[in-house]
């Protein structure tokens, strides 16, 4: 029984980082119908921004050595700028393009960023010691609770609530949703649609920055493709949780964490290496039963 609860805690811990990543992806999808493959690379950019830019094998913290508040602000700003650049350069010209086009374009952006980082920082993984003091276990009775993941969980839930309120209650949120549904019509009504969409990208940048700081604390290693597995799990989480709403993305993230953890715990040992494969198979099964996801977005109008 204790073991089961422990597994549950581990699941939440794992799921929390997926959920936070999924939040960023779900936001852009809900607003723009854009599956942003480059979101994982935004996370990578945030992580690499912590160190002194160089191709050396050993990394020295630059921004990463500032005070926590300064680090958070600086990294967020850097990632936000990166996100805004991708919007201005690639996604804005494609504002009225079809979903497949948008998907491939974000694939291209992702590829460009990864190779850019590769060229600039070199291919070898760099070890980084960032806030590793937070990467500890806290013991509640017999249960082992990883502190960092607990922080991630709290951050995720708080951001989810804040964002949902923002989208539902504030004028910017309303305009964002309107511009998302019908970009041109929003413009006709005086909405500065490009500004509003840029705001969405900026917010996604902040979310990516949060993930990068939390993730690098636990992984301790920088590679040019470090964001890819996170983003991949997050896409799947968004699809499983229900595309088009933030709560769905978060639920999907935790669900996926649960699936992976349970598989890790209960798969026979010689099959454990295939854990990720099994996880995705489970995902596909979920999708077969509920193709719109676990929490489908509120009824939207299908134009026939």
């Amino acid at each position: 029984m204790i073991q089961f609860v422990q597994n549950l805690i581990d699941a939440l811990a794992l799921g929390s980082i997926y959920a936070l990543t999924a939040l960023g992806i779900g936001l852009l999808f809900g607003i723009l119908r854009l599956i942003n493959f480059a979101h994982g690379d935004m996370i990578t950019i945030g992580a690499y921004a912590l160190i002194v830019p160089s191709a050396d094998v050993t990394a020295r913290l630059l921004i990463g050595s500032w005070t926590p508040a300064a680090v958070i602000i600086a990294i967020s700003m850097i990632v936000v700028v990166a996100a805004l650049i991708t919007d201005a350069a690639v996604f804005r010209p494609l504002r009225t393009a079809s979903s497949p086009t948008l998907m491939i374009s974000s694939f291209a952006v992702s590829y460009i960023i990864q190779n850019g980082i590769l060229i600039f920082y070199g291919a070898r993984p760099k070890a980084v010691d960032f806030w590793s003091g937070a990467n500890v276990q806290v013991y509640i009775g017999e249960l082992r609770v990883p502190l960092l993941q607990l922080i991630t969980l709290v951050v995720t839930l708080v951001l989810m609530v804040v964002l949902t309120l923002f989208l539902r209650r504030t004028p910017y949120g309303v305009q964002m949703r309107a511009a998302a549904e019908d970009f041109r019509m929003a413009q006709y009504l005086g909405v500065r649609a490009n500004v509003v969409i840029g705001l969405a990208f900026a917010i996604s940048g902040i979310l990516a920055a949060a993930v990068s700081m939390l993730y690098i604390t636990q992984s301790g290693s920088l590679t040019h493709q470090m964001g890819v597995p996170l983003a991949l799990f997050a896409f799947v989480a968004v699809v499983v949780g229900g595309m088009g709403n933030l709560t769905g993305a978060v639920v999907g993230g935790f669900t996926l964490g649960l699936i992976v953890t349970m598989l890790q715990a209960y798969l026979p040992s010689d099959l454990r290496a295939f854990r990720d494969a099994f996880a995705f198979v489970v995902v596909i099964l979920v999708l077969l039963i509920r193709p719109a996801g676990l929490l489908p977005a509120r009824t939207t109008i299908e134009r026939v």
Binding site: P171, V174, Q175, R177, A178, E181, D182, R184, M185, A186, Q187, Y188, L189, G190, V191, R192, A193, R298, T299, T300, I301
Partner: protein, 249 residues
Amino acid sequence: MTALLDVENLSVRYGDLVALRGASLTVSEGEVVCIIGPNGAGKSTTLATIAGGVTPVSGDIRLDGRTILGQRPEQIARLRLSLVPEGRHIFGTLTVAENLQIGGYMLGDRAAARSDMERLLDHFPRLRERLRYPAGRLSGGEQQMLAVARAVMTRPRLLLVDEPSLGLGPKIIDQIYEILLELRQREKMTLLINEQSSARILKFADRIYVLRSGTVQLEGRAADLRDGEAIRHAYFGFGDGERPVVTAA
């Protein structure tokens, strides 16, 4: 006296397709002007271009004597020119209230926007009943009213309405035109309306333009054109009186 809106020699192309060639029209303050013409004549293109959604290849568009060519739609909306486009284009996933609020944000004055909305809802009691509904659930007629109300929230001096009667039943169309008339009188709005054809619009409008194949075939005061002969000629490209004019019943 300069006209409120002056469209001069407008030409618009979509790739190889010529939608408008050298169309010109003017609208004076306080007027109700109507553009009629068959499908594909270029009516929607005209309104969309005026509102900034389409870039013409040549010609000029002037508001109060100053050119607005090349400005983005959101800038033109701030010049108090609003478009109610064909097909309504309400934001289905937003509530009725939110749809209305969007128009008001541009003004930057929340109190003013709120009082505007109250006043508008007096014109549109059906909308008041459904304020919290997702707008996508409204009927066609209600959506049309919402689209008009939403545009009015931007406090336009000139309201462009593209085929308000499209797809609606006669009773609803009557209601909508009543509202448009009220708006013109009480809110002092100038109206430029597209319709395919309608005996009703002839009673409603001050002046008429007949558009066919991208050019203006006929222009005149509605009062002079009421017998319909000239219109039929311009509309169909021939006119021996044998073909009945299609009117919304």
